[in-house]
Symmetry: C2
Subunit: 126 residues, 2 copies
DNA sequence: TCCGCTACGAACTTTTTGGTGTGTAAACTG
DNA sequence: CAGTTTACACACCAAAAAGTTCGTAGCGGA
């Protein structure tokens, strides 16, 4: 299997390539929120707990550069930007959904009922 | 979305969980070779160029601990061990195959014909 | 006029991941 | 009886990824 070099990065295989694009800790979580609706920066930040500003900014920038999301800047004060999925981004959602289901199965095998945990979180807030 | 802690590790979401199990640079390449047949340590090493002994050993150990592969040790000298997929490992192959196809599509969009490159590599060796 | 608001940028530190280089058991070979 | 072979372990090192802290533009409101 040959190595592929693009943008000064080495890719060992197609999976590696895919995960350099949508992998890492934050890209999928961000894409996943945007699957429902367009969101502004601060809105995404509220939805994804733990994410730091730096990571969110970096993630959004890369996803935009790679064509997964669109960015709309409103020339207002205080500033406002809105992010939405592109067609490419919507395709990525299918992959994330697939991986998510696999992950849920693995978690069940390990005795973790994730979806039940999500339900409990919701009830706490009410 | 709640955090899950297992084996002293924090998982933010199901995808994260799945990729902690079969992600990283080498786990999928190793599983992918084993999809065809049982292989011994040195055989895997020859198939996956670039992989170091440490990484191969570590990868195999984790995959075994997580139940993706079986290890058979032959009490011989020099030592011989054989690795094969478990049922869980075979399920992972489906996921890898899915991700692989997605990666191939992304590469095509980026103007890289990976499969053609693989063909060329083969011809070189003949 | 001073403050707050939003969406960042830059510098720095920590954590995680991967790589290198060396050592070892133990039987067989010449 | 020294050399070879295989599948590792261990100690150390480099690079990549992520996290923390601080700073900033510029308008509207008190």
């Amino acid at each position: 299997m040959p190595d592929v070099i693009l943008d000064n990065k080495v890719f060992y295989n197609p999976v590696d390539f895919a995960l350099k694009k949508i992998g890492g800790t934050w890209k999928m979580p961000v894409l996943w929120r945007l699957r429902i609706k367009t969101m502004r920066y601060s809105e995404i930040q509220e939805h994804i707990k733990h994410i730091s500003q730096k990571m969110l900014t970096q993630t959004l920038k890369q996803l935009e550069a790679d064509g997964f999301i669109d960015k709309k800047i409103f020339a207002e004060v205080p500033p406002r930007t809105e992010y939405s999925l592109t067609e490419k981004g919507r395709k990525a959602i299918e992959v994330i959904d697939y991986l998510r289901n696999y992950g849920l199965n693995l978690m069940l095998e390990a005795g973790i009922n994730y979806q039940e945990m999500v339900e409990q979180e919701k009830r706490k807030k009410i």
